[in-house]
Symmetry: D2
Subunit: 406 residues, 4 copies
C-alpha cells in the first residue's frame, strides 16, 4: 500500500473535523483523483450539515451526508445487546459496533459512484483501522484501501498544523494546540482516550466526562421506568412504543441525567497494546442490565449458560473488527435463536450511577412460582426423593474416583 | 435413604437456630444414636457460643464450635475471586462457596469422632443440599447422609411448630409465625429468599436488605481507598497488611456503609427451577471490581480472554456444588497459573452504591505507555506498515470467501 | 413413580423381542389398562411385521408398526453429522441419536390414541432411559412414564424367565440362557455391550462383531467411490442421487464389506458409570470422514474452528438425551448456518478398515490455488512484507510481557 | 525489516540442504557479519554431520550441531499428546511442534555467542515463519530477525539456482530442477506439501509417501503390542522401559511397517490460506489412540470432557506458533493436572493402516465393574429409584418450558 498505487476515485469517511479535512486535502494532492466524502449521522451530536458545506468548499466531487441512526441501533446495537455483550467483562463496545456500519455504507457508495478506493482517518496503533478495513475487505475484496495515517509523514501535531496552514485548511482556534485527548461519539457511547489519559495510574479529571452527569451531581430523587422487550429487543419505555433509535435516545437522556454508564478501564487491543479508555454508555448500560433481567425469567437455563460462555468470544470478534466475518454471523444465529421467548417488562430504578432492577414480569415467565400453582395437578410431581436420586447419580463418579484412585 | 438405615453416630451441621434444633431432636428420636453437632463461624454474625450451650442442653454427645473465617476467605473466597466469578453474569456465589467448607470440616469431624453419618438442614428444592452432599460424597464416598427435610413429614410450618412444642424445643417468640423469607449469612454475603420474595414482579421491601445501607441513605461523601494485590489476591487496604478475613471484614464495613453490592435477581437452580434471591455482597463486590482492574494492567490479553471464557463454567460448578470435583480443581490450576504477575495497587472510590476504579498501578504493568518510553531503543519498532500487513493477512480469508463463494 | 399410579392407556415402545414382550404382559397385569404397542423400523434389520403379529396375539389393543428410516436419517443422523459429532473423541452416537425419534413418535401416538402414559424397555443403569424420558418430558410434560426395569422386582434372568413361563410368553430357544451381551441396531450402527464385554482388559471375540467383515477378511482390492454433498448433507454416491436412507444403506453395504467403522471403547455414561461398548458404524464412519474432507475446502477457517470447539458439547447433549432441549437446537442453528457452502464431491478409498480421502473438489472451494490464479489481478496482493507485519503485531504482547514481567 | 538493518552476528537455523546453504551465503554477502550455524537433530533422518562440514567449508564462524531428540519428545511431543491434540480434527502437528524447540535453542546460542540476530529458511506464505518468529520474540524480545525469503528477490527457482552457481554453492544433481514438492521431517512425522500437491482434487501419488509402507503393502499378519503409560506419558513398549525418544522410535518402526498414520488433508493456515498437506505420523498416531484408551478407564468424565472442549484451542495455538505464549502454558497446566492417574497398559493391534485398541487395564481404573464388586458393601447403593429422580430433575426445566412457553 503506497501512494503510488493508481486510484481513480476515493470514498472518504469524512467527519467534517480537522483531521479528516487534512486527509481530504492530502488525498487530493497525493492521489490526484476525485474524492467522494461520506458523513454518517450515527448520533454523534455534531452539526452534520456543516460537514456537507465544508466538503463542497474543499472540492469534493460528490458529498454524501446520511442519517443512519435507526439502522445503527436496529441492526448493530440491538443484535449485540441480545448477547449481553461485554468485552473483557466491562466494555460495551460503543466504538467497535459503529465502524462496520460506516464501512458498509462507504462500500455501497463506492459501488454507486464507481470509486475503486476508500479511505478513513483511523490511526496506526488503534483498533479502528481493523474495524474499517476488515469490513471493507469482507464486503468488497478488490477494494483499494488508503489509510493516510499509515502512509504520510505528518507524524507530529506540528507537521499536521503546518500542512493545514500550507494548504489553506481552516483550523478552529481551539485546535491549534493539541487536544488533550481524543473523543469518539455515537448514539451508544462517547469514548475518550489517548494523551493525558495514557496513565492508568492517574485519575481522570471530571471535565473529561462529557456525556453524563456525575453520580455526585445527579438528582437526589431516583427515576423509575418500565422497559418492554419483545424477542430480546426493547420496544417501549413506560408503555410508549418507540423506534430502536427512539428507545436508545430516551434511555441515554434518563441515564446520563442519573450518572449511569461511566467506565474507566484498561483494555487489550488487537494489535497487542493495552489501552486506557473512558466510556460513557448511559442508555446501553440500562439496556444491558434490563435485558439480563428479562432473560432471567424467560430464558432456559442451558441456553443462558451457553450464551454466557460464547459471549466473550462474540465480544472479541466485534472488538477486533470481525462484524462481517462468517463466524460472527454463525454466533449471531445461535444468539438470535435463543431470544424467541425473551419478552416482557422490566422495571428499573436509576439513581446516582445505579441502574437497579426493581421487578420483572412476562407472560413467558419460567419462574417456579408458576410451578407451585400446579400444586394439585399431575404436573407438580416434584418429589423429595427425586432430589436424593439426582444427588446420588451426580455424586456417583466423584465417589468412584475417591474409592478407586485414592 | 430411609430412616430405617442403621446409623451409629451422626455429625449434624448445626446453626443453633430453630430448624436445626428441631432436626437435632428429630435425629435423636428417629435414629436413636449419638449426635455430634458442628457449628462453624464463617462470619454469619450470630452468637456462635449460644449454639454450644443449646446443643449441650439438648443432649448432643460431642459439640464442635469452630471459627473458620480465615480458612473460608483464604481457601474458598479468594480462589474464586481470582476467576472474576459471576454466576449468570451477576451473582457472586456467597452461599455456594461456603457450603463445601462446612461439609469438609463435617467429614473430618466424622472421621475424628468415628461417626458414620452426616446430616444437614437444607431443603429439598434448593441447591444447598447438592453443595453439602456432593462435597460429603467426594470426600468420603461411604458416608451415610441424612437430609431430614427429604425424609420427615413435617412439611408445613405448623407441623414443625407442633413438633417443637411436643419435644420441648424452645421456640423464640418471633419464630412462632413463619418468617417472611429465609436468610443465609457469612463473611462474603447475606442472602434473602423464599416466600414473600417468590414474586419476581414485586419489588423487594427495603427492610429485607439487612447487611447494607441503601444507596439513598449512604453518605454524601465518597470513600476512597487503596487495595494492594499480590499474585491475584488482596493483601492490604490503604497500606495496612491484613489477613484474608481481615481484608474482607474491612471491605464489608466500607462497602455496606456506602450501599455497595446489593443484587436482586432471578437465577437458575441446578434442580431445574428458577429462584429469586436478594444478595448483599459489599466487600466481595469491591474486590471483584478491583481484581479486574489490577488484571487489566498486569494480565496478558489471551490469558484474560481464556479466563473470561472459562469463568461461566467455573461459576456453574461452584453454584451446583462441585467444588471438590476434579474438573473444578483442573480449572483452578489454569486460573491460578494466570495470576503470577497480578500484583499492584488499585484505588477505588465508593459512593452511594458505586464502586469505581479511580486508578491502578503495578511494577508488572503491561500498559503500552511503558512501550512508548522505549522510543529510542531497538525494541520500539512498531511500524505503521506492520499494521497494514497485520490487517491484510487477517482479512485474507474474508476476501477469498467473498470472491470464491459469492 | 410406582405402579399404583392410575393409568388409563399406555403406549409401549415394543421391539417384538422377549424383554419387551414380558414388559407388555407385565404392564397388562399390573396396570390393568389398555396397551398400545409401537414398533419403529429404523433399520434394525429384523422382521418388524412379526412384532405386529406378536403384539396382537398378546392382546395389545392398538398396534403401530412404522418405517421411520427416512425420517431417522434425514432429521436426526444427517444434522448430527453436519457437526462432525464424536462423543469422547470417537463414538458416533448410533444409539443415542435413534431414541429421540422413537420417543417423539410414541408421544404423537399417545396423543392420537388418547393414552396418558408411555413405557420403554431401557434398564436402570444405562443412558437410554434418559434419552427416552427426557424426550417424552420435553415434548409432553404431563405424560406419565413407566419404566418397568426400575419398577418391577424381576431383577435376575431367572426371575424374568419364570415370569415369562408363568405368563405364557414364548421364549425362543436361544434365549433360555442369558445372552452373553446385549445388542442395539439401527441404520447408523450396531452396538454390543454388557456382560462378557464388561471387562475392558479382555479382547472382544470376533463373533461379537455382527455388522461388518473384519479388516483381515475384507477384500484385497480397495473400493473407490464418490460422495456428493450439498449444503453439508450427502446427496449422491458415484453420481447416483439417493434418498437420505438410501445413501446410508449404500454406504453401510460398502463400509461393512471393507471392514470400516469398528470401535471398541470405554465411554462415560451420564449416570456416572463407565461403559464398555463395541460399535459398528460402517456408513456413518465413511460419511464422517468425507464430510470433514468437503468442509476442508469449502468451510471458512473460523467457522470450522468454532464448530470444533462446540462439537464436544453438542455430542454430550445428544449422548445424555437432550436432543429436544433448547440448547441443542440453539447449537444446531449455528451448525446449520455454517453449512451453506459445504457442497462438492469427495472421492474415498475403502480398504481393509481404512476409509481414506483420495481427493475433494467443489465449485465453492476456498483453496488457495484459486488465489494463485489471480496472479495478475489487483486481488492478489499478498505481499511478503505483510507477513512481517502480521508476525510483529501478533508477537507484540509476547515481547512486552517478556520485557515488562521478566 | 530490511537488510540495511545493522547486524553484528547471526545464528542461522541451518539444515545443510541447498536452500539454507544459499541463505548462509546470502547472509554473508548482504549482512557482512559473522554467521553461526545451528543444525538440530530432531530425527529427520539425514546425515547431520554433513551439515557441520558444509557449514565450516562455507565459512561459518561457529558451527553448532546438536541432538535434541530426547528433549523434543519429552518436552514437546509428549505434553502435546497428553491433550489428545488434533488440529482441525485430524492433523497431529508434527511440524508445528518442532519449530519452537529449534527457535528456543537458536536463541540460547545467540546468547551464548553474543549474536544479535537470528535467521531461518521459512517462506513467506507459510506458518513456519510464525512458529519460528513468535518463539524468538517471546523468548528474546529484542532479537533481530532475518527472514531471507521475505527480503531477497530470489523469487523463482531459476534465480535461486543462478545465485547458487554464481556464489559457488554445490547444487546436488537431483536439485537442479525444482523438486516436485517440499518435505519436512522429524521424529514425529514427515510432511509433504506444495507444488504438485497443490491440487486437492488430485490424488497423491504413492511415491510421495516416504515414511511408511502403504496399507496395501503392509504385512498380512497383525502386530500386537503393549504400551504402558505413567501419568499420561508412555514409558514402555511390551514391558521394555524406553526413553521418550526410544518409545517414539520403536512405535515409528512398528507403525510405518504396518501402514499406520498416513493423512492427506487440506488445513487452514494462520495467514489465511488453505494448504494441502500429506502427513505420515506412524508412532504418533498409535500413541494418540492408545492415550485416549488409557484415559478412557482412568480419567474422570468431566475432566475428559473439559479436555475435549479445550483441545481445539490448544491445537490452534500450537499450529499458529504460540507454544511459548502464556495462554498455551495456562492450558497446559490444566491438561497436565488431569493426568495424575492416567497410568496403565493398553494393548494395540496394528494391521494394514489400522491401529486398534484391543484391551486396556489400570490399577486406577474407574470402570464400573469395580463398582459391581462392592455389591455387598454399603458403597454400592445404586438404587433404581435414584435414576427416576435423576431423570425427573434433569427434565424439570424442559417440562416447565413446554408448559409455560408453548
Amino acid at each position: 500500500m503506497s501512494h503510488e498505487q493508481s486510484v481513480k476515485k476515493i470514498v472518504l469517511a469524512y467527519s467534517g473535523g480537522l483531521d479528516t479535512s487534512i486527509i481530504l486535502r492530502w488525498l487530493q494532492n497525493n492521489y490526484k483523483c476525485e474524492i467522494v466524502t461520506f458523513t454518517a449521522n450515527i448520533g454523534q451530536g455534531k452539526d452534520i450539515e456543516m460537514a456537507r458545506e465544508k466538503a463542497k468548499f474543499m472540492g469534493a466531487k460528490e458529498v454524501y451526508v446520511e442519517n443512519l441512526c435507526e439502522e445503527f441501533v436496529r441492526d448493530f446495537v440491538f443484535p449485540m445487546l441480545r448477547a449481553n455483550t461485554l468485552y473483557e467483562g466491562t466494555y460495551m463496545l460503543g466504538t467497535p459496533i459503529a465502524r462496520p456500519l460506516i464501512a458498509k455504507r462507504q462500500i455501497e457508495i463506492a459501488e454507486e459512484t464507481g470509486a475503486d478506493a476508500v479511505a478513513h482517518g483511523a490511526t496506526s496503533k488503534g483498533n479502528d483501522q481493523l474495524r474499517f478495513e476488515l469490513s471493507y475487505y469482507a464486503l468488497k475484496p478488490d477494494i483499494k484501501i488508503i489509510a493516510p495515517w499509515r502512509e504520510w509523514n505528518l507524524k507530529s501535531r506540528t507537521s499536521l498544523m503546518d500542512y493545514a496552514k500550507k494548504h489553506h485548511i481552516t483550523v478552529p482556534m481551539d485546535k491549534c494546540g493539541a487536544t488533550p485527548f481524543s473523543v469518539d461519539a455515537n448514539m451508544l457511547h462517547v469514548s475518550s482516550e489517548g494523551k493525558v489519559l495514557e496513565y492508568p495510574e492517574v485519575q481522570a479529571a471530571e471535565y473529561i466526562w462529557s456525556n453524563s452527569i456525575s453520580p455526585e451531581e445527579a438528582p437526589d430523587e431516583p427515576t423509575v421506568l418500565d422497559i418492554d422487550f419483545e424477542n430480546g429487543d426493547p420496544v417501549s419505555i413506560d408503555g410508549e412504543r418507540l423506534s430502536p433509535a427512539g428507545i436508545l435516545l430516551k434511555l441515554n437522556e434518563l441515564g446520563s441525567m442519573n450518572g449511569i454508564g461511566r467506565l474507566d478501564l484498561v483494555e487489550n487491543r488487537f494489535v497487542g497494546l493495552k489501552n486506557r479508555g473512558l466510556y460513557e454508555t448511559p442508555g446501553g448500560t440500562i439496556l444491558h442490565i434490563a435485558h439480563r433481567a428479562i432473560e432471567s425469567i424467560t430464558l432456559d437455563r442451558e441456553m443462558g449458560h451457553l450464551k454466557d460462555e460464547l459471549m466473550p468470544r462474540y465480544a472479541k470478534l466485534i472488538y477486533n473488527g470481525f462484524w462481517f466475518a462468517p463466524e460472527r454471523e454463525m454466533l449471531q444465529s445461535a444468539i438470535d435463536f435463543s431470544q424467541y421467548a425473551v419478552s416482557g417488562t422490566v422495571t428499573m430504578k436509576l439513581y446516582k450511577g445505579n441502574a437497579l432492577v426493581v421487578s420483572r414480569k412476562s407472560v413467558n415467565s419460567l419462574f417456579s412460582a408458576d410451578w407451585v400453582t400446579f400444586e394439585d395437578s399431575s404436573l407438580n410431581d416434584y418429589n423429595d426423593k427425586d432430589a436424593t436420586g439426582f444427588i446420588k447419580l451426580n455424586a456417583l463418579r466423584l465417589r468412584l474416583k475417591k474409592i478407586l484412585q485414592a
